[in-house]
Amino acid sequence: MTIVAGLLHHVFEPGFFSSEPVHVAVIVGGVVALVSAVVGVFTVIRGQSFAGHSLGDVGTTGGSGAFLVGANPLWGFAIFTILGAGIMELFAARRPRGRDLATGIVLGGALGIAALFLYLGTTETSTTGATITILFGSMFVIRASTIPVFVTLAMAALAIVGALYRPLLLSTVSSDVAAARGVPVRRVGILFLLAMAIAVSLSCVTIGAILSTALLIGPAAAALRLTKRPGLALAWAALIGLATTWLGILLAYDSFYWPPARRGWPVSFFVVALVFAVYLLADLASRRTRRHHRAAENPGGPDARSSGFEETVVGDSLFGAR
């Protein structure tokens, strides 16, 4: 018993459970991880990872703008990511194949303005702390009074994804099939972009505008390696998001007692490093199981099932010299 207690004492350094910043970080971090993971699964399978990352960068503009005028950064992040998503959608609508282009244009413009805001903000107050907070987050300085705002925004994003679950999946498979069934594909896409903007703005505050991509894409990508069922993928992503965020908070708290400076390492670093590690593990695990599956499915060797295709190739090559 005493060994376990001693070990626990080292894992949870003194004061972890009684510290208010830790409480707030655990609640807000958990909520944000959950939303990012769920929205992230659809972001990845719809091939919108670039848009997701760009929304984070657009958030930088909002965050630095909020710092400049002395407002709560959450509002800056939220307003600018949603605006950014809207502008991307407007540009993309005019050029049906230009979604990446539209995203890139909005991204560039927003970062330019962010550079100006950060310059003005930091020269005025002669501190670079704000830049670090906006770009790399700071879960331990979130005020407890903002918890309800986080929870409300998170619920809104989850509600959108929950309501659109089936139409989103169907239009991911084929937008023509979905449209033929009467799914308003464009409106579904816009609503999803709104959910994505909310999720990204929330993670901008917690782990930073630059790193928000990691929490959006990482747990989702790892989950996709672990399961082939859509419901389970959401569950795995949520679990991975929560676990990495909470473990990251714990490690960051413990790191106050670590070298070199005994000032604590940034929590965002731990979260992102853990997400990356989990992705690598999931990827390894899926490679192993897939090899097993292939061996079990095709006792006649790897090409046993594609023999029909081989024959066509023979036909084609006979005729090849035309």
Binding site: A163, R225, G315
Partner: protein, 283 residues
């Protein structure tokens, strides 16, 4: 959950196109296209690439409004949201990693247009299982959609389209990327389904020969115009020459039909040679 629709009577008119004309960016893409499809019948929509087959599909599906003319479903204008038409696209561009099993894709055909998260139910699972059975897809029901072969994916897409019991099944070039064995399996399957479920089936293809044994009627498309009827009525030199606007040769060769429509259509003949050679390679 979904109540089984009363089977239509064989021969009931399910779809009618009347004088459909379509102009897109100053070009007439379809000119006065008219044909009808009947329950339990399999119709081939035949024409070379760019003849207007896909556009006709888009008009039927309501994805493209015609400039003039009417599309009638069982005698009525088509409603915006409807489950009367099942659509099988030529291919789907799905990443290998997308977490969707074959059975999940079939289930999306049941209620993929509805809001909210589906609740698992015995009836839902049963109807998905029945559909998988009907298209002989039980053995790969739990495989990832991204890992299916071309023929397997066609079966699953057909099951996806059929599970809501549509009256009309549209298949866009289902044979385009298949090897000959899968091609024959899909053709047999679709023809069986047309008869069993009394669905009107429209299959588009740039090659009519694989469909000849099962095709009840043909709609031949060239340069945005269409002629329809039985194969004997339509695939003739006078009819096709009028359609193309220049002389066309129709050759009958060992039970196959070769349409030689001038220089740019020459690939029809070449495709035939390829087919014969590859069949010989198997046999």
């Amino acid at each position: 959950m979904t109540t089984r629709r009363q089977l239509a009577d064989v021969g009931d008119e399910v779809l009618a196109l009347e004088g459909v004309t379509l102009w897109l960016s100053g070009r007439e893409v379809l000119h006065d296209v008219a044909f009808s499809l009947r329950a339990g019948e399999l119709t081939g929509l035949i024409g070379s690439n760019g003849a207007g087959k896909t556009t006709i599909f888009r008009v039927i599906l309501g994805l493209q409004a015609p400039t003039a003319g009417k599309v009638l479903l069982s005698g009525h204008p088509r409603p915006r949201r409807n489950r009367l038409i099942g659509y099988v696209p030529q291919s789907i561009d799905l990443d290998r990693d997308v977490p969707l099993r074959a059975r999940d894709l079939v289930a999306l055909g049941l209620d993929g247009d509805r809001f909210g998260v589906p609740l698992p139910s015995r009836a839902r699972r049963q109807s998905v299982d029945d559909m998988l059975e009907a298209v002989d897809a039980k053995s790969f029901a739990d495989a990832r959609v991204g890992n299916l072969s071309g023929g397997e994916l066609q079966r699953i897409l057909i099951a996806h389209a059929l599970i809501s019991h549509p009256r009309l099944l549209l298949l866009d070039e289902p044979l385009a990327n298949l090897d000959i064995r899968s091609e024959q399996e899909v053709v047999t399957l679709v023809s069986r389904i047309a008869k069993e479920q009394r669905v009107a089936v429209l299959i588009s293809a740039h090659e009519m020969n694989p469909l000849l044994p099962v095709m009840d009627r043909v709609v031949y498309v060239a340069a945005g115009r269409a002629a329809s009827g039985s194969t004997e009525e339509v695939v003739r030199e006078d009819v096709l020459s009028a359609l193309y606007g220049h002389h066309v040769d129709v050759l009958h060769l060992h039970g196959r039909i070769l349409v030689v429509a001038g220089k740019d259509e020459g690939h029809h003949v070449e495709l035939e040679k390829k087919r014969t050679l590859s069949q010989r390679a198997i046999g």
